[in-house]
Amino acid sequence: MVNQAEVQLSINNLSVSYGPIRALKGVSIEVRKGEIVALLGANGAGKTTLLQTISGLLKPISGNVYFKHLEITRKEPEKIVREKIIHVPEHRQIFGTLTVLDNLYLGAYHHYRKSGKKKLEEQIIQVFELFPILQERQKQLAGTLSGGQQQMLAIARGVMANPQVLLLDEPTLGLAPIIGKEVLELVTELNKTLGTTVLLVEQNVIASLKAADRGYVISNGEVVKEGSSKDLLLDDEIKEAYLGQAIS
C-alpha cells in the first residue's frame, strides 16, 4: 500500500553472535514508513536477537542499522529510545511492583521533562481510549493484571514513548487466542490512527501476516524469504513449514 514511502529502518548485513554461536548471519531488512512488517521464523531463528540488536540491547559484530539516515548501530538503548524507536520486549517485562499508571509514565520517561506533566496526562487519556481496561486498573500494581492486560500495558507503555517505529516481540505469546487476536487488532489500529511503523515478531503466522503489509522469513539467522503478506500467505513452503502448526 505504502511501498514507495520513505525507508524508516534499514538493516544491512547484520551479524550478531553469542560467544562462539552466530545468532544472525548477515541479515538485511527494510521497514518503510507506516508499514507493519512481520518477522516470521521458528523459535531460535534469530527474530528476537534482531529486535534486541535494533534497540541496542545487543551489539552486532558486523553490519549496521540505520534509522532514516542516522546510523544507530551500537548505540546504547537509552539513546536509541530518544529516536523514538521503541522496543516492546517479549514476555511483556512490565514493572510488576509499580502501578499501571507508573508503568505508563515510565514509558514516557525519555520525554517526561520535555512534555511536562500536563501534556502527559492528556496523552495518558488518549492511551486509555485505546486501552479502556487500563483506565479501570490504573491504580493497581501491574503485576496483578492478567496476561492479556499486561500485554496491553506493555504496548500502551510503548505507545507512551511516542514511537515512530514500534518493535513488537511476540505480543500474543501465552495469551488465549481471542485475546491474542484483540491485541493484534489493537496493533493494526495503532498503525492506522497514529501512523506508527511496526516491526512485528509473531508466532501466529496467519494472524500476523493478515495484520502485516510485508513479511520476512528468518531461519538459522538468515533471511530466507521476503515478500508481501499476500504472497507469503500463498507460499507453499511457508504453508508447509509454519502454517500447519500455527493453525492447530
Binding site: 530518544r82 514493572f95 509499580l98 520517561y109
Partner: protein, 292 residues
C-alpha cells in the same frame, strides 16, 4: 520501668544509626546489586571532615554543607572509577572490590587524621531531656529525626518522582528500563551519590555522640550490612525495621543479659533469622523482586 525506657531510648538511637547506614547499602544494592562494604567509610568521612572543617573555623552549617558535597563527590567518583569498570563481575568480586575501597579509604584517613578519636560539637545545645525517668540528648533526637526524615525523603523521591520511578524500574528490570530510555549508568551513579549523601548525613549526625576516628566506619559498615541483610536486601522498610530491631537487641541484650555478649547476641539473632527466613525479614522473595 525507668530502666526499660532508657534501654529502649538507647536502642532506638543506635538502631536509627544502623538504619541510615543500611538504607545507604540498600539504595546502592537495589540498582547495582553491589553490596558496598565501604558504606561505613562514608559515615567515617562524614565525622572526620566535619571535624576538620570546624577546626578551620568554618561556620557549622557551612561545614555540614561542604562535608556533604565532598562525600557525595567521593561516592560519585567511586561509582565512576570502580563499579562501572567492574560491571558484570560476580558478587564475590564485587564484595572484594568494595572491601578494597574500604581498606583504601580507611588507610588514607589514618594517614591524614591519625589514630586518635576526635570530638565534634553537637548540632544544638546538648542538655539532656528527661522523659519519664529516661534521659535523651537533643543530638540523639536529631539522629532519630534524621532517620525519619531520610525515610520520608526517600519515599517522596522514590515513589513520587519520575527519577525515583526510573530508579525502581532500573532496579526491578534493568533491560526493560533501558528500553524506556532509563540509563542504568546514570541510575548507578545516582544510587552512589544518594547513598554517599546518606552516609555523610549519618556520619555528621552521630559524630557528636560517638567520637569518630579513622576506623569507626568498619564496625558501622558491618552492622549496617547485618541490618540490611536482616531486613532483607533491597528492602528499605526492611532496613529500617532491621536497624531498630538490632539496636534494641543490642541495648536490651546489654541491659538484661550480658554487656560482653551483646554483639554475639545481635549476630546470633541475625543468624537465627537467616535460618528461619533465608532472605531476611522483608526480603526480595516476599515483596517481589528488588523493590526499594
Amino acid at each position: 520501668m525507668g530502666d526499660l525506657l532508657q534501654f529502649l531510648v538507647t536502642g532506638i538511637t543506635i538502631g536509627s544509626i544502623y538504619a541510615i547506614v543500611a538504607l545507604g547499602l540498600v539504595t546502592i544494592y537495589s540498582v547495582t546489586k553491589v553490596i558496598n562494604l565501604a558504606q561505613g567509610e562514608f559515615v567515617m568521612l562524614g565525622g572526620m571532615l566535619m571535624f576538620t572543617f570546624l577546626n578551620f573555623n568554618i561556620p557549622y552549617w557551612f561545614a555540614i554543607l561542604f562535608t556533604l558535597v565532598l562525600i557525595i563527590i567521593v561516592g560519585w567518583m567511586m561509582e565512576l572509577t570502580l563499579i562501572r569498570p567492574a560491571k558484570g563481575a560476580n558478587p564475590i568480586s564485587l564484595i572484594i572490590l568494595t572491601l578494597g575501597a574500604s581498606l583504601f579509604i580507611r588507610g588514607i584517613a589514618s594517614m591524614i587524621w591519625g589514630k586518635d578519636s576526635v570530638r565534634v560539637e553537637p548540632f544544638t545545645a546538648n542538655d539532656p531531656i528527661n522523659i519519664a525517668g529516661a534521659a535523651i540528648t537533643p543530638q540523639s533526637i536529631w539522629v532519630i529525626l534524621l532517620m525519619v526524615l531520610i525515610v520520608f525523603g526517600l519515599y517522596i523521591l522514590i515513589d513520587k518522582t519520575i527519577i525515583g520511578k526510573g530508579f525502581q524500574a532500573s532496579s526491578a528490570n534493568p533491560n526493560a528500563a533501558r528500553l524506556m530510555g532509563i540509563s542504568p549508568k546514570k541510575m548507578s551513579s545516582f544510587s552512589f551519590v544518594l547513598s554517599a549523601g546518606l552516609g555523610a548525613l549519618a556520619g555528621m549526625a552521630i559524630a557528636p555522640i560517638m567520637f569518630p576516628a579513622y576506623d569507626t566506619g568498619l564496625m558501622l559498615g558491618v552492622k549496617g550490612l547485618s541490618v540490611a541483610i536482616l531486613g532483607g536486601l533491597g528492602s528499605a522498610p526492611g532496613a529500617v525495621l532491621g536497624g531498630l530491631i538490632l539496636g534494641l537487641i543490642e541495648s536490651l541484650g546489654a541491659g538484661y543479659v550480658s554487656s560482653g555478649f551483646k554483639d554475639a547476641i545481635a549476630f546470633g539473632f541475625v543468624l537465627l533469622i537467616l535460618f528461619i527466613r533465608p532472605s531476611g525479614l522483608l526480603g526480595e522473595k516476599s515483596v517481589g523482586k528488588g523493590g526499594l
